[in-house]
Symmetry: C2
Subunit: 454 residues, 2 copies
């Protein structure tokens, strides 16, 4: 393999005992996994054995579900990823954090700190956080409107980018003899006064190895795609069919070009929930075992909330009601809403069947098959203009990640799609084939070729 | 040594190249130390070799000083301590975080996460953050008044304590057969509506090994002492004389008793900046070397800001002006202001001499001497009602901590004042001889003897 071959990017989306809602009930699963560092260290090292580009943690600042239904709560992602930074060497570390419920100064500082500590491996999955539950944990009575959340997110990014650039790379002089530690002319306080934020001063941490964390985004609504085209360097997306994925891919690349950016500088990673078996029948049996462990009354409860229906509206063995609200009226996870409704209509699913399909990946593509079949699907999407890589979401953890790395990764390597080793240490952004961003305040003539902290 | 002997508590206060402002100019010092994880790992392991109770990082959400003057910026403490958690086994990890510029939900979550990841070794140095610079990084035009900052801090603590107790210790049931993961009756959403905060929902992380982080405080103003008496379990303080330290110690213990708490449950740790030499003359020479590296014009600049004087007011070889503002009018670091003014008046110091004295410890006691002399001072304060332990602030790092651990610690051990080994793993709170706090929502009759996460 040479650097000229287009390479597949793999991200491991880690979630306690796995992405299938019933995974915690399997005999092999540790129901305390979500608060055990060793569980995550094991997963991170497995992903590194599989030469993944990165790993990723979702998050929201609220207690998601009823405790009765499934594992709830999680270690805060930036904290957990910092611990994983010291247990790994190469893999990127992508944390979800909300622009609606953080201050730019605090969050920019934390990501810069993680980027320094990890040697340039930090990534930020930028979310605007749907739901009234989160709003009520931060002094608001109601969820901010979808459009307002995105307007705030855009201003948040502008402020954060100013903060990350507020130290030029060569601001530290370290002249002991003269007693001059730094060059104040290389510090650029944002002096930002905007609609949502006022931030005067420079960040209190030097510019990090990557300049700033890899910017990742996962919203697929109109607002979400516009935001991604402007800021995102990698996009996670839920797509059920090759056709839909191709359309999304093409659309996002065009929007990115229209925003004045190189479309190669945004990587599209659909989610896939692989359920593996050494034969197709074994894979289907593994899938069935998970479905048999679903508590369907819980599934109805969650589906009603996603569709913004009153409790006890849905019947398990009937299709979805015909008169659902239009996507426009949804203030939460708009694109997920549409995907779920379209999936149910397209495949004429009953509520029970729909819950079974969603139980695995919450709208992401669940694919049960042999390692060859999973590799085939990945290769098809990758070579047919639907993906630059994949967000791998094992149904059960750690076993599902073990199986993927032991059985699918070797096939992808044999086909020349995936690196066989990491090689020298690089930053996460280099791993994704993206350039280190220039500092917006540095004059081109004085820009240092060797950033101080790399 | 038995458990019945009163034992000295030692905290290592880590600060880039050391607490002396000129430390970075020494040939041995690494001027990039403040952003190098390996530097802090080395310090943490040295402190652990010295069987310290804890280590500690100061912080403020603003760029402190002019870069020209001395190392500026720092890794965010909670992030750095999480990385250190994985590089150490026993030592407590105390992070500074501001109640004025954080949300209770986010901060409570981060501390709970660090407490889980570290196996119960998290501590929180609660600060209200003086200064307009910080305020302007968080949307405010002016610094909130001192009293208002403390009122907000008290409400912040009340909310955080509710959040940390929002999961009872036995909320996780993990009944795979029944498909019931947790017991929703053991979840207690704060439903807090107050002056500064509204926080409805339960925390999204289970109760941590310590219940919540060790609560530490370092403000010595009237507001600060009242706050400490109500909430703090350990207090860092700057005291220049045995008499002052005894008075502070007695006062704080009385206030704690008056607040209805056991005065044994608040540990008082004055700061000391040891400058060691194998002879007294060598120690003085080491101190002189540091003083010779002070840039006095920088010192004047900082002193004028502390004293809230206009620039170019102070003359280097004259005493402080007679007509300084009263402490009442100071909205920033009130107690530090008074300590500095009293030090200058008591010892009839010129501005130059005062800067020399402050350069070492910013108001903390600098003590130059042999290891025996430093151990004597520590023993005297410890046995004469002035301290439960010490906040050790080496003038130069890492060498000053090495010297303390190699030469002072063995003397303290020989005298039976300090543990010779850690013994079994314990929480930070147990290390300080404090009980694990009960959950405010758990009925005594149903309280579990074995918390789920310990």
């Amino acid at each position: 393999m040479t650097r000229h071959t287009r390479q597949l990017h793999l991200n491991a989306f880690l979630m306690n005992t796995g992405h299938h809602e019933a995974s915690w009930r399997l005999p092999e699963s540790n129901p305390y996994a979500h608060v055990e560092l060793d569980h995550y260290i094991r997963l991170a090292r497995t992903a590194e054995r599989g030469t993944f580009d990165s790993l990723f943690l979702a998050d929201g600042p609220q207690l998601w579900s009823n405790l009765a239904q499934r594992p709830a709560g999680a270690l805060e992602p930036l904290t957990l990823l910092t611990a994983l930074a010291t247990a790994t060497e190469h893999i990127g570390l992508i944390a979800t954090a909300s622009t609606s419920y953080n201050s730019p100064y605090n969050l920019a500082r934390k990501f810069a700190s993680l980027d320094i500590i990890s040697g340039g491996r930090a990534g930020w999955n930028i979310v605007t956080t749907a739901g009234a539950e989160a709003a009520r944990n931060f002094g608001l009575e109601h969820e901010p409107a979808h459009a307002e959340r995105y307007a705030r997110a855009a201003e948040f990014l502008d402020v954060a980018l100013k903060l990350w650039d507020s130290w030029e790379d060569d601001a530290i002089v370290a002249d002991k003899a003269a007693g001059v530690w730094g060059d104040d002319a290389k510090i650029h306080p944002p002096q930002h006064q905007g609609t949502y934020f006022s931030v005067a001063g420079a960040l209190n941490v030097p510019r990090s190895p990557q300049g700033y964390p890899l910017l990742v985004q996962a919203g697929s609504s109109e607002d979400g795609k516009a935001f991604a085209a402007r800021y995102a360097e990698a996009v996670f997306t839920a797509q059920q069919t090759l056709g839909d994925a191709q359309e999304f891919y093409k659309d996002l690349k065009s929007r990115t070009a229209a925003a004045g950016r190189d479309p190669e500088h945004i990587k599209v990673l659909p989610g896939i929930v692989p359920v593996l078996g050494s034969t197709e029948a074994e894979a289907r049996a593994n899938e069935r075992l998970l479905e048999d462990n679903i508590v369907y009354t819980h599934g109805v409860d969650r589906l009603e909330r996603l569709l913004q229906l009153p409790p006890n509206t849905l019947e398990l063995d009937a299709p979805l009601p015909a008169d659902l609200p239009p996507e426009d009226s949804i203030e939460g996870a708009k694109s997920r809403y549409t995907l779920v409704v379209e999936l149910a209509r397209r495949d004429r699913l009953t509520v029970r069947q729909l819950i079974g399909r969603l139980g695995g990946g919450r709208g992401h593509l669940t694919f049960a098959g042999t390692p060859e079949q999973v590799a085939d699907a990945i290769e098809t999407w990758f070579t047919q203009g639907a993906a630059d890589g994949f967000n791998i979401m094992p149904a059960v953890l750690p076993s599902g990640l073990d199986a993927f790395v032991d059985h699918v990764v070797p096939i992808l390597r044999t086909r020349g799609l995936l690196r066989t080793e990491y090689g020298p240490r690089t930053t996460l952004r280099e791993r994704y084939g993206l350039p280190r961003p220039a500092n917006q305040y540095t004059r081109p003539t004085t820009q240092s070729a060797q950033p101080a902290l790399v």
